[in-house]
Point group: C2
């Protein structure tokens, strides 16, 4: 029996630093990286099937209807989505797949693939989150408050996840995620059948 790969979903509130952590993680380790689909126009140099699958809005909406996405979202009038069949095929072939997505997307993936490993990235403190949001350049105190409150609200979704990783330093966060992946591969639920029916 071929051993399945893991689907590792890296998510969390904005300002937690999930992209930085993911970049460092995928640089150090071999993962299968999913190519997203989008309806936005290709930018100069972007290649279909490499950077994105570029779809018309009609195609995209058909694929939503046919349940072809693990998750999808509309951002500023453009659609983005994670193709379901490719990700599931990679997992079946024993490859570990990393998805870096926002909380809304992660919850959709969990619905579709609950056996995934859902990791919530947090800033080291609310103080630090404040700083990071300020550094991103909210001009008015009102827009800061909106952003901060939204990030604060998002933290309540932590209970839908399996793991919390505090992003105090990128190295620590990466080391924790590597341990989580190693540990998940030892979970009885994942290896029991192989052991009892070799």
């Amino acid at each position: 029996m071929e051993k399945k790969g893991l689907l590792i979903v890296i998510s969390g509130p904005s300002g937690a630093g999930k992209s930085t952590v993911c970049k460092a993680l995928t640089k150090k380790n071999k993962f299968w990286i999913s190519v997203s689909a989008t309806t936005r126009a290709p930018r100069k140099g972007e290649v279909n099937g490499v950077n994105y699958y570029f779809l018309t809005e009609e195609d995209f909406k058909d694929k939503i209807k046919n349940n072809n996405f693990l998750e999808h979202a509309e951002v500023y009038g453009n659609y983005y989505g994670t193709p379901r069949s490719q990700v599931l095929k990679a997992i079946e072939e024993g490859k570990d797949v990393i998805l870096e997505i926002d909380i809304q997307g992660a919850l959709m993936v969990k619905e579709a693939y609950p056996e995934g490993v859902f990791v919530f990235i947090l800033p080291p403190s609310m103080e630090e989150l404040k700083k990071r949001i300020i550094n991103r350049g909210s001009e008015t105190s009102e827009s800061f408050t909106t952003r901060f409150n939204s990030a604060y609200r998002e933290i309540n979704y932590v209970s839908k996840y399996n793991y919390v990783v505090i992003n105090d330093t990128v190295d620590n966060a990466v080391r924790n995620i590597e341990s989580i992946i190693m540990a998940e591969k030892c979970r009885v639920d994942r290896v029991k059948d192989e052991i009892l029916n070799p």
Copy 2:
């Protein structure tokens, strides 16, 4: 709120090499090591409260009655047990506690403390288990068969555990257990309260 320590139970069939793995693990990492109680006579050089708590059979049986042990067993007419209050106190103080015990004992600990981390150590293959049992010196093929069948039966208890670690090399097994401990400290169930009610 003080962060609780973990109770890590290292267990598995005889011949899997759990003592060797535990020795290497506790040499590299700082754990709180539980001192067992026993009714057997102290050997030369053994110190009460250091190597064991030496108890009379009457005392031991009283303690069983009063539910003072996390687990206990009778081996060749002597009693052995893990004192409950000490282990729980260490955990409350944030110390990680390692217990290396047989499957029967591990199941008793799980009953008493289900939030523990239960790790099942396995030899790399049934062939290897055969070799290890033979190397321990079963004289007759009958006693070999008995031992092998017993170890084989014990493997069915794997589903009561959280993790399986294949002891192909001691280094790999230790690295896996270290990852499991690191990952468990990130589990949402363990840190959720701290994050949502800081």
